[in-house]
Amino acid sequence: MKLVDHLNNKLRSIVCSSNAETIFYGQNINAGSCLGGLTKNLNNIDNLRILNTQNSENLLTGIGFGISLNNINSYYFMKQLDFLLLGIDHLVNTLNIFRLMKLNTTNGIFCILSDKGYEGPQSSFNSVSSISSIGNLDFFQLATAADVDILLEKHFFSNKFKVFCVSQTLLSSNLITLEPSNFQDDIFKYGLGRDLNIILFGNSMIYFEEIIKEIDINKCAIYSVNNQNQNNFEFIIDDIPIGGNILIVDDDRSLNKTSDRFLRKVLHLNKFSLKIIQREFLLSDLSPGPDRLMLKDIGL
């Protein structure tokens, strides 16, 4: 099964089981490929309206807030994370007012991050931590079966504005079904070993399978930080013994990375041995090209 199918099934089951009145809207979400299958077969759900809209991302980001004033939930599905840039005003200013209102509904964004490479420099934006930071909002990356089953279930109808984001690469890939050995808040741990602790930030779960092939998952641990608004890393810090080896991988090109927040918390502790791989903004690195970190080149 592909991630997109699992996600699509989960969306259907969450909406059906909640009975909450909900609207899904966005460009071409109920036509053609339905965003590569993400929003297919969602008609005929009694409490769900699904709607194809015009190409007006600023407006579409904002209407979700208006919808919530009438006690209806809504999600704006967008084909590419970049669309969200046109609605930044709402992620900051409109959201500030609605935070004060404390409504009992939710609205949010569901988007796909273009990371397959070769689609050109205007498909290179992956600064998920910047989006999260600018509005101080929850921004969840969904990469595995566990992410979908646990995070989506927990947060989909929570009374907060949030963004769910899926890698374009992972969406059409086989579903990662490895179960977390433990999790706390929105941080998942895979594996139980102590030899090496790998912490994945931003969109770095696209390297998960590559990493699994290179390491022995029984001797190592991989932590995925799934919410780019994460500020509490106690689960990781307390879990790794003193002197533990940590490899940080952050695929995010932002100047304001979630991994930087983690580093600010651990560096002064002087507890761990750290290796840091963070994506920088390099013109030469922009798509068209593989548009990804070459982990082998940096000695993983």
Partner: protein
């Protein structure tokens, strides 16, 4: 709908007096928040107040005082908001440019040009307006330059939203007149291009405005289609330099205006002042009586 015109007149005069009073409070430096007075805009705000029925709702801009005052129960409730009192409806958390009271038809106000249009469209779109309810989305000649105005018109028409866009056109955006910052926009032609009904109001006659809005409202309700009402008006409180250059009023203190029975009418030029239009309609004597009564009722001591 039977209109009690006396109540309309009183409401409009009260709107002006409250704004004059707020202006005095600005002079006394009572406020930390920026205040955007809307003297000259009272006719449209009053007309919308008396056209709002059922669960109609209003979405305002940063210049929202005339709407908040129109729907407010008392001067004190507005004053408390503007001084950020914890006793105010919003507990002092909204300030002035985002001021609204959800216990009134005003559901949202935004300080970002055009931002309220998206929220208004979303509210209208949710399909829970009820059969006989509409949305009023207020905007201005500056905000219609934003892309979101175009997006909102397209969305409203495409989705058959029961929404009236009220475009308050005072020709100014901060310190530039239309002619200084852009080419003219023929809003009627733009409306026609979307096949959206358009009405232009420019007489500042509040009774005419109430009738026009009710007509538009009926059309919106029966046809489930949006409507644009462009209101040409002046934001009073402007001044002239010695060289004859007009300095428009945008925000803060209107220096040359004071609170007195004589200053309730601010301009007798053309159709600029809806209160002057009103005084001509009902006669100056009747007008002065209404003004005096409101002064007494509000225990106001004119400057």
């Amino acid at each position: 709908m039977t209109l009690n015109v006396n109540q309309v007149f009183i409401s409009m005069i009260r709107n002006r007096i409250y704004q004059l009073l707020i202006n005095e409070k600005i002079r006394e430096k009572k406020f930390l928040v920026p205040i955007h007075l809307a003297m000259g805009h009272e006719a449209i705000a009053t007309a919308i107040k008396f056209s709002c029925i059922n669960n109609d709702s209003v979405f305002c801009t940063h210049r929202n005082l005339h709407y908040n005052v129109a729907f407010s129960k008392s001067f004190l409730s507005e004053y408390n908001e503007l001084i950020l009192s914890k006793d105010s409806n919003s507990q002092g958390k909204l300030g002035s440019m985002n001021l609204f009271d959800s216990n009134t038809p005003i559901k949202y106000s935004s300080s970002i040009l055009g931002n309220n249009l998206a929220v208004a469209c979303g509210y209208a779109f949710s399909g829970k307006l009820g059969n006989n309810s509409i949305v009023y989305a207020v905007t201005g000649d500056g905000a219609i330059e934003e892309g979101i105005f175009y997006e909102s018109l397209l969305f409203a028409k495409s989705m058959g939203l029961k929404i009236i866009f009220i475009v308050e056109n005072n020709s100014w955006s901060l310190a530039t007149k239309i002619i200084e910052r852009r080419s003219p926009i023929d809003l009627k032609k733009l409306s026609d291009s979307f096949d959206i009904e358009y009405t232009n109001l420019k007489t500042n006659d509040v009774v005419e405005y109430v009738n026009a809005i009710n007509l538009a409202r009926n059309h919106v309700v029966t046809e489930s289609l949006p409507h644009i009402i462009e209101v040409n008006l002046s934001t009073l409180g402007y001044m002239y330099t010695e060289e004859g250059r007009c300095i428009n009023y945008h925000a803060g203190l209107a220096k040359n205006i004071s609170l007195s029975v004589d200053d309730v009418i601010l301009s007798r030029k053309d159709n600029e002042d809806p209160l002057y239009i009103l005084s001509k309609f009902i006669g100056s004597e009747a007008f002065e009586i209404l003004v005096s009564d409101i002064f007494k009722e509000e225990n106001l001591v004119p400057r």
